[in-house]
């Protein structure tokens, strides 16, 4: 089993009515619940809108990173999967696609020396 | 008629010991007492003070501590301002105060003229 980081871009819940929102959150509960049961869930949280970008050796600080909310990272999860393909299959089950999301899946690289 | 301030002091630990039922009945005793004072035209205003988020600021603001909760000390749990003819009458009124139910005490003060 390897660890994979899922980076969610978009996935805004703002447009949902309260009822839709509750339904949506219930699906998250079910999904994370079943992942946990299979030992595939390792953590992760949604992220706030306010952000700073620190760049370069000079550590220039800007508000940011993107004005376009579609491209903003809205949250992350860490899951366990055998390989990138099965991580992709797992991600397809994620309720976040109900709210139009783009997910980047990256293997967590172990810095072994 | 003069204004008198009642400061209610009690031990935090006495409150902690109360059961839910006793807390509800204490709430009732305060309510009844204040109403009685109000109906007699003696009550001006007052409130309970929150036990959370209290700070003690000293030395021109250079020392700020969470407080004033020291186990052995009384804290001021609330105050009211009432009207009475004399200190004697004010003291008489204070004798009915529900704070005695939690082994508390009333400090009766009058403004300096």
């Amino acid at each position: 089993m390897k660890d994979y980081l899922l980076l969610f871009r978009g996935g805004e819940m703002q447009g949902l009515s309260e009822e839709e929102r509750n339904k949506h959150l219930a699906k998250w509960g079910q999904w994370i619940g079943s992942l946990s049961k299979e030992g595939k869930f390792a953590g992760g949280d949604p992220l706030g809108v306010e952000a700073r970008v620190i760049s370069g050796k000079k550590m220039a600080v800007t508000d940011g990173p993107y004005a376009e909310s579609k491209e903003m990272v809205g949250g992350y999860l860490i899951i366990k999967a055998a390989d990138l393909n099965s991580a992709t299959e797992i991600t397809k089950e994620c309720p976040i696609y109900e709210v139009d999301d783009v997910t980047e899946i990256r293997e967590i690289h172990h810095m072994d020396f | 008629m003069k204004d008198f301030i009642f400061l209610f002091r009690s031990h935090e630990r006495e409150l902690q010991k109360l059961s839910p039922d006793e807390m509800q009945s204490l709430l009732g005793k305060w309510s009844t007492w204040i109403k009685k004072l109000n109906d007699a035209g003696k009550y001006k205003f007052g409130d309970r003070l929150s036990r959370e988020d209290a700070k003690v600021v000293s030395d021109f603001g250079r020392v700020v501590t969470d407080g004033p909760f020291i186990e052995s000390k009384e804290i001021v749990g609330g105050y009211i301002i009432i009207q009475a003819e004399s200190m004697d009458e004010a003291v008489e009124i204070s004798k009915q105060c529900p704070v005695y139910n939690i082994k508390g005490m009333v400090e009766v003060r009058t403004g300096a003229n």
Binding site: G29 | Q24, K35, Y43, F45
Partner: protein
């Protein structure tokens, strides 16, 4: 000048015992979130919630919906706690995995405060508190603490023991629950019937503590009876407890409650059935008792609660002592004696025999019982029968024997009163 006492929602609008009932609900819900081994966190958060209510509701500033206010504060305190320890602590609960991520944390906590989940959590708490692994006296103390919101002091007053004793019982009970890794759940399958019986027993014992004790204060005794009725009702509203035995127990407790005010006088003395003012019996409770008695009659189960409720129903429907249907009562006692041959059952049966066939027949029945010589009610019953047979000296001997066997101040003075009456009796013989 703004007067903050003129606000509409004053203290009077608070349901009586709201805090006590909500305490039971919230402790149950939070124990389900934090897991049984961390029940203390649940209790602390609930206590803090009420203290905050005391502060913020001020002298007379009760929120429009006090229950919703309490739940909101408890939820927030719970979420704060979970966030604080998120990366450090694991919880032994069904939803522990959902508490580890912000994707699901607050929705899951909110979910637990929905009506059906609150009910479910309370049922889990009843079955856990009444778990047969715990000694019965601990089951009672734990039930009063967790579901009824009683403080240590209130429990010790109700059970006529010291606070230190109650503390010890609760501490050991919680330790036991931890050691045995008991799950906070509703039992299923074959286990259910046995576990339900344990719950019924505790409810009935709590009720009896309130109904029969002559020593504790009237107010706490009434509270115990009310709490037993509430717990039984809670059970009947859930599919798990919706069965004839639950209804029979509820009916029985309604019947007994209806005589609460008639059976004890102002000084705390027990008034015997034959001396009770039947006008003081509570008609609404009697009607409720009959309603549930008929509900309890479907199916073919005949439990001791059915029989005791049946016996009470004959007493309560009689216009006077003379008009009581003693023959029907005797039949029920005979079945009850087979199911549960307890000393009280046998003695009570003898009193019925005395009504039907006279004191001599009853005396013979009682004298057959060999195991009750150390039981004060055995001697008071004998004394009563000897008195009816004009054997005053024997009556006196047994009353004096009974005196040695009880420590209850109220019972002692009642027995002394009866000894006095014997003297009076003799003088006019």
């Amino acid at each position: 000048m703004i007067l903050n006492v003129t606000k509409k929602d004053s203290y009077e609008n608070l349901a009586s015992h709201l805090f006590r009932n909500e305490a039971g609900k919230m402790v149950s819900v939070l124990t389900r979130i934090f897991g049984l081994p961390r029940i203390e966190i649940a209790e602390d958060i609930v206590q803090d919630t009420f203290l905050k209510a005391l502060d913020e509701w001020g002298f007379n500033n009760i929120p429009q919906n006090p229950q919703a206010w309490l739940y909101k504060v408890a939820k927030n305190k719970t979420i704060d706690y979970l966030r604080h320890w998120k990366h450090v602590q694991d919880y032994e609960s069904d939803i522990s995995h959902l508490l580890k991520s912000e994707w699901t944390l607050s929705a899951s906590v909110n979910n637990m405060f929905l009506d059906n989940e609150i009910q479910d959590s309370q049922l889990r708490m009843i079955f856990t508190s009444c778990h047969p692994l715990l000694p019965q006296e601990s089951q009672i103390a734990l039930t009063l603490k967790t579901l009824c919101g009683f403080s240590i002091k209130e429990i010790s007053r109700a059970l006529l023991t010291t606070g230190a004793n109650v503390n010890k019982r609760l501490f050991r009970a919680k330790q036991k629950l931890r050691d045995e890794h008991l799950k906070f759940e509703i039992p299923m399958g074959d286990e259910l019937a046995k576990r339900l019986d344990s719950v019924y027993r505790v409810i009935y014992l709590i009720f009896n503590e309130g109904y029969s004790s002559t020593e504790s204060e009237k107010i706490i005794r009434k509270d115990l009876c009310a709490e037993a009725l509430r717990l039984c009702q809670l059970l009947s509203e859930h599919k798990i407890g919706d069965n004839p035995k639950t209804y029979a127990l509820f009916s029985l407790m309604c019947f007994h409650s209806s005589r609460f005010n008639a059976r004890i006088d102002d000084k705390g003395y027990v008034i015997l059935l034959k001396e009770q003012d039947r006008k003081l019996w509570n008609k609404a409770l009697i009607a409720k008792g009959f309603e549930y008695l008929s509900k309890s009659s479907y199916g073919n189960e005949l439990s001791e609660y059915h029989l005791e409720a049946g016996i009470a129903s004959y007493h309560l429907s009689a216009k006077s002592l003379d008009k009581t249907n003693w023959n029907s009562i005797l039949k029920l006692y005979e079945i009850l004696e087979k199911i549960n041959p307890s000393p009280v059952t046998i003695l009570n049966k003898a009193i019925v025999v005395s009504q039907i066939s006279g004191p001599q027949a009853a005396l013979e029945e009682v004298l057959k019982i060999k195991t009750l010589e150390k039981y004060y009610l055995y001697h008071t019953t004998l004394a009563e029968l000897y008195k009816d047979l004009d054997q005053i000296q024997k009556a006196k001997t047994h009353l004096e024997e009974a005196l040695k066997l009880t420590n209850s101040a109220a019972e002692i003075s009642l027995i002394k009163k009866r000894i006095e009456e014997l003297k009076f009796n003799r003088r006019f013989l």
